[in-house]
């Protein structure tokens, strides 16, 4: 479908139906994927989805609806949005949809045509390069997925916003299983990029294999250590940083008082060595676009500067509540998969969180640790963003004693509080990786607990 034409039609119909303001988000996503099962391409697919999200405003009453327009007409959708708004109670905090502003560059600034055109043949070739590099007599690739997406959206609103952006995303997730008699080891690797050609698949396969092989030697950690340093690989640290900072710096959570950083602007919330930036125009970021999903130009916002909380992130609603301008953080899209994302209204979220690289290599950081652990892979890295508490099971980790790796371990819990960890020195490595919502280095946190079996 022609998203511009549909967006224009829905906007016009909404105004005819009496909307005081209206906004249409029209999204086309094309995704090709290959799923690996036991070293072979088990499923190859092509998904094309078009959908719209319509915000219908009656004074201070807001309604939202969405549709693929497959089983209903634009007129049906507008009537439904109107009925939702009509029933809604007035939201006294609502100020306005965003005004038009000049976008931060050409709409295809973050679009890579070869990646957008990559279909199952190209993905098959890439993914089998990885499988061939990883597979060995005692190593297989039982699980994996590689997908490439083109994401093309338009935002029209009744205040004159006519904006949009095109981008591409590649995501891969692979596991390898190594077996030696009754002992098994699992390797896990992810890859993220906006450009398929930037991913070195044979190298990824080799890393996957060596990781799985190394876990064969891992033993269950049996002790309880306190006051240790934990070095987190970017894949793990990125999820924890995003969950915590993304939630605490969100103006939605600040305005509803659930953020521990409410009323903390200008206060020290982290160690003076830590700076965290939200960059909607990040050169490597997966959600980079010239406007956010409300049509507001994206930008770079320093959240924490040398440990001091400098700004929150704002979508247009929360910017109105706080009497400031949106920072271009009204988001619907997801770096992992944007299919179906038209079906929810924009909410306040990070674009790409960046932490500057430090000066030390991972090896140098390890050499400075007296007692600690290097975590390559958690079961799933999680933090309670309200209290900051975390307790994550390490599935692949290395024990560090007196600056050296002394053992490969698994099945132990790393325990701590991320708000407290941020206030102590955080050491960043000199190289950074893109993962999900973050571009960050390896990070070392101090004074944590490691609980063994």
């Amino acid at each position: 479908m022609d998203k511009e034409r549909i967006a224009g039609k829905l906007l016009s119909l909404s105004e005819k139906e009496g909307a005081s303001q209206a906004e249409v988000f029209a999204l086309t996503v094309k995704t090709s994927s290959v799923y690996i099962d036991d070293n072979i391409p088990k499923v190859a697919d092509l998904k094309t989805e078009f959908g719209i999200g319509l915000k219908f405003v009656l004074g201070k009453q807001l309604g939202f609806t969405s549709s693929t327009l497959l089983s209903e007409s634009p007129e049906d959708v507008v009537k439904r949005a109107k009925s939702v708004a009509h029933v809604s109670s007035e939201d006294p905090k609502f100020v306005s949809l965003p005004d038009p502003k000049v976008a931060s560059g050409r709409m295809d600034r973050f679009f890579d045509k070869p990646t957008a055109n990559a279909g199952s043949p190209e993905l098959l070739e890439k993914v089998m390069m990885l499988v061939q590099a990883a597979a060995a007599k005692n190593v297989s690739v039982p699980n994996g997925v590689l997908r490439a997406s083109s994401i093309d959206f338009a935002v029209h609103n009744s205040l004159g916003v006519r904006a949009g952006s095109m981008s591409t995303n590649v995501f891969g997730f692979f596991t390898a299983k190594a077996q030696d008699g009754g002992v098994v080891g699992e390797g896990v690797q992810r890859c993220w990029s906006r450009d398929l050609s930037k991913i070195d698949f044979p190298n990824l396969g080799n890393k996957l294999k060596s990781q799985a092989m190394s876990v064969l030697n891992a033993t269950a950690f049996k002790e309880n250590w306190t006051g240790i340093v934990a070095i987190l690989a970017p894949s793990e640290g990125s999820e924890m940083v995003h969950q915590l900072v993304g939630s605490a710096a969100s103006a939605e959570n600040v305005n509803n008082r659930s953020s521990p950083w409410a009323d903390k602007l200008g206060s020290q919330v982290a160690h003076k060595g830590l700076t965290v930036i939200d960059d909607g125009l990040s050169s490597a970021g997966l959600l980079s676009s010239v406007v956010d999903d409300e049509g507001v130009p994206t930008r770079k916002t320093t959240l924490i500067e040398s440990g001091t909380l400098r700004s929150y992130i704002f979508d247009s609603y929360n910017a109105g509540v706080s009497g400031v301008s949106s920072t271009g953080n009204g988001l619907r899209r997801d770096p992992r998969d944007s299919l179906g994302r038209f079906s929810q209204p924009a909410s306040c979220g990070v674009t790409t969180l960046e932490i500057p690289a430090g000066t030390k290599s991972l090896d140098e950081i390890i050499r400075e640790v007296q007692k600690g652990v290097y975590i390559e892979h958690f079961a799933w890295p999680q933090v309670d963003p309200i209290s900051g508490a975390f307790s994550n099971e390490a599935r692949n980790a290395c024990i560090i004693e007196n600056g050296e790796i002394t053992a490969q371990v698994k099945h132990c819990l790393l325990v701590g509080n991320m708000y407290e960890s941020l206030t102590r020195e955080v050491v960043a490595s000199s190289d950074r990786e893109v993962h999900d919502y973050c571009v960050i280095p390896t990070l070392a946190f101090s004074d944590l607990e490691l609980v063994g079996q």
């Binding site: 799923y35 099962d37 036991d38 072979i40 088990k42 499923v43 190859a44 697919d45 092509l46 998904k47 094309t48 989805e49 078009f50 959908g51 309604g63 969405s66 693929t68 327009l69 497959l70 089983s71 209903e72 439904r80 939702v84 708004a85 029933v87 109670s89 939201d91 905090k93 199952s120 297989s140 039982p142 699980n143 596991t175 699992e186 269950a220 008082r257 659930s258 521990p260 998969d337 299919l339 179906g340 079906s343 799933w380 309670d384 309200i386 209290s387 900051g388 508490a389 975390f390 307790s391 994550n392 099971e393 599935r395 698994k410 099945h411 819990l413 790393l414 607990e449 609980v451 079996q453």
Partner: protein, 462 residues
């Protein structure tokens, strides 16, 4: 539409195609959220899409679209799926004959007492406002969240075995989350009620109990202690037992993980894996539970599968493909998130079955231990046989009595070791609904449950 889909399948022929199906889905939902006494969200969504799958050798091709369903669109989807299946099949090592799929022609409409579509939006909003009010039990409750979610999934399916099916699934969900603050301490609690049901599920909620307890729970957690760390005796309530059931053995019993030898439970049918008191079941037919379905995504009727029976490993959860490969009947566990996602082996309602102890007897019989409640999330370890279960709170047990309240923690351990330490199983089942991902995505509605149980596990709390 079903005629057009059947017709497209019948006309679709190629020598190398072993199986094909077309699915058309319409997914509609109404969601309301009240935050701090004000309506923050009121959404109505409607997503419709069509997906075709084709099997060649042992590889599937799949194509989906949100374009209008016409004979031409369906033909194109099947052709595209075939092209991709053939591309994958170049690497194929075998042929999978899905000859045991039975042709079914059925139309199933969900039974419920009160269709939520007949309830006014004003009444739904009023319910949420009441939930919001009831959370404010203390000045320290500084943020209240109340959510109402009603969804309807309509599916039409035609396949090359000759099936023509259509059915719907209507789910309801009410959720509250309270945040409490005192000085720099911030904690939250939550409560959820959900199921495959009509509006009667909402009417059965005692607002003051449901939301008031949540508010009090958040306030109480402000003074909760850090839990002890290390291996210890753990008593779980039914919700935590359910999470363990789901993560401990549920995922590793999904047969796609078994046919490729990834699961640590591969080859264990007939082997003792747990103490006598442990029986683990997946059952997609239990009335009213969130994971209940009339058919799985492939059109196989839901069924009850005993995974562990009195400590002995019994069997796996199957799709059409895995059952063909293992020479057994499909169990109705082939599920997909939606038309944009793959079908593979998934759970429905997974639970530990009951034993003979009362809940009180288990606590009274425990000299030192930790009583754990309120699950937040879990993560399976299909290869290594470990587990991670996160919980929001619990109580230290001293001499058979619940004492100090403790805050968030993780439970972990080696599954086969943990199950062999189960020495007390309660006599009352408790279920809670949720959303299950496999690996890191592909989310589907499920529920899990169990009775109170006692075992040895490793605990770490933050």
């Amino acid at each position: 539409m079903l005629d057009a889909m059947s017709s497209a399948i019948e006309r679709f022929s190629a020598r190398d195609v072993l199986f094909a199906d077309i699915r058309h889905e319409v997914r509609s939902a109404t969601r309301l959220a009240v935050v701090n006494s004000a309506l923050r969200k009121f959404d109505r969504t409607n997503r419709a899409g069509t997906v075709a799958r084709v099997l060649v050798g042992e590889c599937w091709g799949q194509a989906s679209t949100t374009q209008a369903v016409t004979a031409s669109t369906l033909k194109e989807l099947l052709s595209e799926a075939l092209r991709m299946a053939r591309a994958g099949a170049r690497y194929s090592k075998k042929r999978i004959e899905i000859s045991h799929a039975k042709p079914l022609t059925m139309s199933v409409q969900q039974k419920m007492k009160e269709n939520p579509q007949t309830v006014s939006d004003e009444e739904k909003l009023s319910f949420l406002v009441e939930l919001d009010r009831a959370q404010k039990v203390d000045d320290r409750v500084i943020n209240t969240n109340s959510v109402y979610d009603e969804s309807r999934f309509e599916t039409r399916l035609a396949n090359s075995a000759g099936s023509r099916l259509e059915w719907d699934e209507i789910r309801m969900r009410a959720m509250v989350q309270s945040v409490a603050r005192e000085g720099s301490k911030v904690q939250f609690d939550y409560a959820v009620k959900d199921g495959l049901a009509g509006y009667e599920l909402v009417r059965a909620i005692d607002v003051n109990n449901f939301a008031g307890e949540c508010g009090r729970g958040a306030v109480d957690l402000l003074s909760a202690a850090k839990p002890p760390s290390g291996e210890m005796t753990v008593v779980t309530d039914g919700d935590i037992a359910g999470l363990i059931a789901h993560e401990v053995c549920g995922h590793a019993s999904e047969a796609d993980e078994v046919v490729k030898g990834r699961s640590f439970l591969t080859g264990l049918v007939g082997v003792r894996v747990a103490s006598d008191g442990v029986t683990l079941v997946d059952d997609g037919t239990i009335e009213g539970l969130r994971g209940t379905v009339p058919f799985d995504t492939e059109g196989t009727p839901a069924s009850r599968t005993e995974i562990i029976g009195r400590g002995e490993y019994k069997g796996y959860l199957h799709t059409l493909e895995t059952s063909a490969r293992m020479g057994v009947l499909p169990t109705g566990n082939g599920r997909a998130q939606d038309y944009n996602h793959r079908v593979f082996a998934r759970m429905t309602n997974t639970y530990f079955d009951i034993g003979k102890w009362t809940d009180e007897e288990i606590i009274e019989d425990t000299k030192d231990g930790l009583y754990v409640i309120r699950p937040t999330s879990g993560m399976e370890d299909v290869v290594g046989g470990g587990v991670q279960c996160l919980a929001l709170k619990g109580y230290i047990i001293e001499n058979g009595e619940l004492k100090t309240l403790v805050r968030g923690m993780a439970l972990t351990g080696k599954v086969l070791d943990v199950l062999k330490t189960v020495d007390a199983v309660g006599d009352t089942l408790q279920f809670s609904g949720g959303t299950c991902g496999k690996g890191e995505e592909d989310y589907i509605p499920v529920s899990s449950g169990g009775p109170h149980m006692r075992a040895r596990m490793v605990v770490g709390g933050g």
